[in-house]
């Protein structure tokens, strides 16, 4: 982060807001757009085949819900992910853009096709009633929408896969030269794509079951038919995404696998090896139980069952994203760049010459640590290297992390941040004087001078 100014979100930390945006995007893009388009195009296909007007109408109602969510919330939170990352970690997104520019550009073109066909499919649904020859043409609009929305997911998945398992992507280190093909065909692309595809289909089918519950209160026959239809899609996708999920897992670096337990719960809870499994099994059980009860008894299933299915799926999806983000630590691009934007290859020079010296937006008087500017310089270091994951006194508060330690102990501890006790943290980067400055600042947070520095 030494090339950029700092924006520090107090208390909640920017990462939490980002996570909020990202998880909403994942719920909607996977459910309403990618999975939703596939599931609803299938539903329309069978409605045409059976000439079932009620089923066709139900599919339209579900599409209406998905449409509003996908366009107003899904697409914008998708752009939001980008905007958030450019605030949190400009160095990382800048690097990804340079490596993946053309893939992103192609994705954008396909995104256009997706949007045009979605608008076309949705806005003309009633223009082509069932039984007219135009309806078959109309189905093709939906099918095109489904294919293009899957394609956009495929490209984004490549970028996410790259961040975790970049493979042999650097042809030369200085100057850094990417191998564009190797970056694209990184080891976890296909397995993660398969995983996400079938999870999306299953999740969309589950969401369609829940919406059916709401939309068919007056028509039990339709309810039974529709819930069984979407239910079958759900049951087919579950074993498939589990299979791909396992393949995906095998591609993770060992250090990432080691972090699974902590990623799944928290560091304290993870000391009990059963808990991480329990959490996920409980979520899966809630989802499955809801799904099975709704499927076997669609006419009588109470609302609680539908909600259980929904909540279970959302919980699993959120948990998956959380774990995936966590186990990549301490990196943002595995092996190339730490989560706080420092490139691994730049660490030696920063340790030799100093971090503050390179920081574009740090005032000149802080570039060399002195006895009088120590604490303020330490704060600048905290903002550039630690703020990415910590807040001062909110979420993952640094103030609490160092509560009982004196300056000497803090100094000692930050010399080995990236070690077995906390392998998810990047190392502190900078000279010995800078390490002292950071320790002085962190000590001041709980010390008598605390109020003076925290402004």
């Amino acid at each position: 982060m030494f090339d950029y100014p700092i924006f520090d979100m107090p208390l909640i930390g920017h990462r939490l807001l980002f996570a909020f945006d990202a998880i909403i995007h994942v719920f909607i893009s996977h459910g309403a757009a990618v999975g939703g388009s596939i599931v609803l195009a299938l539903a329309q296909y069978f409605a045409i085949k059976d000439n079932d007007h009620k089923f066709d109408e139900l599919a339209y109602k579900i599409l209406f819900t998905f449409f509003i969510l996908a366009t107003a919330v899904g697409a914008l939170t998708g752009i939001g992910i980008w905007v958030h990352v450019n605030i949190i970690n400009p160095a990382a997104i800048g690097a990804l853009l340079r490596v993946f520019f053309w893939k992103w550009f192609v994705e954008w073109i396909v995104f256009n096709i997706e949007m045009v066909f979605l608008l076309w499919w949705f806005l003309t649904w009633q223009k082509y009633p069932l039984g007219t020859p135009g309806k078959r043409f109309h189905f093709k609009l939906g099918a095109t929408y489904a294919i293009s929305s899957w394609f956009t997911m495929a490209i984004i998945t490549a970028i996410l896969g790259f961040m975790m398992t970049p493979g042999n992507w650097l042809k030369s280190e200085f100057p850094a030269r990417p191998d564009y093909l190797a970056s694209l065909f990184n080891p976890s692309w296909f397995p993660s794509l398969g995983f996400r595809t079938f999870f999306s289909i299953g999740w969309a089918a589950a969401a369609a079951m829940v919406l059916t519950w709401f939309f068919t209160k007056e028509d039990e026959a339709l309810r039974e038919k529709a819930i069984r239809f979407f239910g079958k899609i759900l049951w087919v996708s579950v074993p498939l995404f589990l299979l791909f999920g396992y393949w995906y897992y095998t591609q993770f670096p060992q250090a990432a696998k080691d972090l699974f337990a902590i990623g799944a719960v928290t560091r304290n809870l993870a000391s009990n090896p059963i808990l991480p499994w329990m959490l996920n099994l409980v979520l899966a059980a809630i989802a499955l139980l809801g799904g099975i009860l709704l499927y076997t008894n669609p006419k009588k299933a109470p609302l609680a069952v539908a909600i259980a299915l929904m909540v279970g799926c959302m919980g699993l999806l959120a948990e998956f994203e959380r774990v995936r983000e966590f186990v990549r630590k301490p990196y943002i691009i595995y092996g190339y760049m730490y989560a706080n934007g420092v490139r691994v290859m730049d660490v030696p020079v920063l340790n030799r010459d100093g971090f503050l010296k390179r920081a574009t937006f740090v005032p000149d008087e802080l570039k060399t640590v002195t006895a009088s500017n120590k604490v303020v310089a330490g704060r600048a270091l905290y903002e550039m290297q630690c703020r990415y994951c910590h807040t001062i006194n909110g979420v993952n508060a640094i103030k609490d992390r160092v509560k009982n330690w004196d300056e000497k102990a803090i100094y000692s501890r930050i010399g080995s941040l990236n070690s077995s006790a906390t392998p998810f943290m990047p190392p502190f980067t900078g000279t010995d004087a800078e390490r002292g400055a950071l320790a002085a600042y962190l000590a001041s947070l709980n010390g008598p001078a605390a109020h003076a520095v925290q402004h």
Partner: protein, 446 residues
């Protein structure tokens, strides 16, 4: 020109694969995609406002034709909000890759307000959908309906200031200061004049759009649509003429507030001729529309003439705008690339030196070296207490290596009540063999 801040460029090549001509393609794509984006946004701003205006008048005068005009205008709103956002992504992508350090620095300085382009936009979208899809449900409750519409319009109108403040800030890095923030960037003469120019241009473009939309509705077989078409045509003409004339005055004010070095380059490149061309084109379009001002059945050739003239004028303006941007950012970007290259040179040196001297920083017994590598020494001094007890202290308890192994995997903080405030975290990943060596070393400390 002196720049206080020069952030270094991303140390990866631009994605041209060594093909120089791709640079031109980047710039061409940037201009074209930006024009499409901004035309959608212009129509979004104009049509959403006009819809609420006619809705209100229709309700007050109890006039179903005005109500139809208002409803007809929601279709371009739905399309342009979606397509506008979508086509905004392409310029964002291109700018982020061409001017990464400047654009991202400006977005950071303008945060958290910069996030409004996401969250404000989502709420605006939802309000505008609610407005459109509750048209019949709320027919008897126009007050509420118009309130919802007004909310979405107000929200849409809060987005351009956020964009403008960020765009203006990133293309004028000579104005950056320590503690730079969003409100400073917004309440600057250059930003405000550009913003005024943009809002006026949005009305003018929406005017041309309504002219065209009305022209198609005139051809409809439905009598209400035909009458609505006439109103759209009339409104379109006025919306085009008045803001365009105002912009003849606001435009120069916006231009002359740019930093001097940008203006110099602007005139040296002859971009002012482009402005002259645009003004002449706009005057010609005004001339056509003034002559047909009273005619609801304006001939199609004239409608298309105005549309084409304005497309040419807008593309010209967009190219000039891009020229100004290049003039302003090129010197900084050149310095930024040079800075990054110089840094990489030093980084390489230090990196290779570090590779050469691959020795761990500690010397001494292997157990100690391993303890250092695994971060144990961050918390335990050999003889002094740090965050945990000293190893000399621990050695006194005479644990077997197995016991130490178990305690590292699953600490028991109650063994050391004094340290319970910050207990040792469990460490599952230290290999067993290495942990044994560490344990033996600990036990050897006297």
């Amino acid at each position: 020109m002196d720049f206080k801040f020069i952030p270094g460029d991303i140390p990866l090549p631009l994605p041209t694969g060594g093909l120089e001509f791709l640079h031109y393609i980047f710039h061409g794509l940037l201009v074209v995609s930006w024009v499409v984006h901004i035309l959608f946004i212009n129509v979004l701003l104009g049509a959403s406002l006009a819809s609420v205006y006619f809705n209100k008048r229709g309700a007050r005068e109890n006039n179903p034709i005005l109500d139809r005009v208002a409803y007809l205008l929601t279709t371009p709103v739905t399309i342009s909000e979606n397509m506008g956002a979508l086509w905004g992504v392409a310029p964002l992508l291109l700018i982020s890759v061409l001017y990464t350090p400047l654009f991202y620095s400006a977005s950071l300085m303008n945060s958290p307000q910069w996030l409004h382009i996401i969250y404000g936009n989502i709420v605006a979208f939802l309000c505008s959908y609610l407005y459109k899809y509750s048209w019949n449900t709320l027919r008897e409750n126009k007050g509420l309906h118009i309130t919802i519409g007004t909310m979405s319009v107000l929200l849409f109108y809060t987005l351009p200031p956020v964009f403008m403040a960020t765009v203006q800030l990133y293309i004028t890095p000579s104005t950056w200061n320590h503690g730079q923030n969003f409100w400073d960037a917004l309440f600057r003469a250059d930003t405000l004049f550009r913003l005024a120019h943009f809002y006026l241009a949005s009305f003018a473009v929406s005017g041309v759009f309504m002219l065209l939309y009305g022209y198609f509705k005139r051809k409809s077989s439905d009598a209400t649509d035909q009458a609505a078409g006439a109103i759209l045509i009339r409104t379109g003409k006025a919306w085009f003429i008045v803001p365009t004339v105002l912009n003849f005055f606001i435009g120069p004010l916006a231009l002359f507030h740019f930093p001097n070095y940008g203006l110099e380059a602007f005139f040296n490149h002859g971009y002012h001729w482009g402005i002259l061309l645009t003004v002449l084109l706009a005057l010609y379009a005004i001339h056509i529309l003034v002559k047909e001002f009273k005619n609801d059945d304006i001939p199609p050739t004239k409608v298309w003439k105005v549309v084409i003239i304005m497309v040419v004028a807008i593309v010209t303006m967009a190219s000039i705008r891009h020229g100004m941007r290049v003039a302003l950012v090129s010197p900084v970007m050149a310095a930024s690339v040079a800075k990054s290259e110089a840094f990489q040179k030093e980084a390489k040196e230090a990196y290779e030196a570090a590779k050469q001297s691959h020795l761990p920083s500690t010397t001494g017994p292997r157990g100690r070296i391993l303890a250092e590598q695994h971060g144990c020494l961050g918390c335990h001094g050999e003889r002094e207490r740090v965050i945990g007890p000293s190893y000399a202290e621990i050695a006194k308890r005479a644990y077997t290596p197995e016991k130490i192994l178990a305690l590292v995997r699953q600490p028991v903080p109650s063994n050391w009540p004094e340290y319970a405030q910050a207990p040792m975290p469990p460490m599952a990943t230290v290999p067993e063999a290495e942990l044994r060596e560490i344990a033996n070393w600990i036990n050897g400390i006297k």
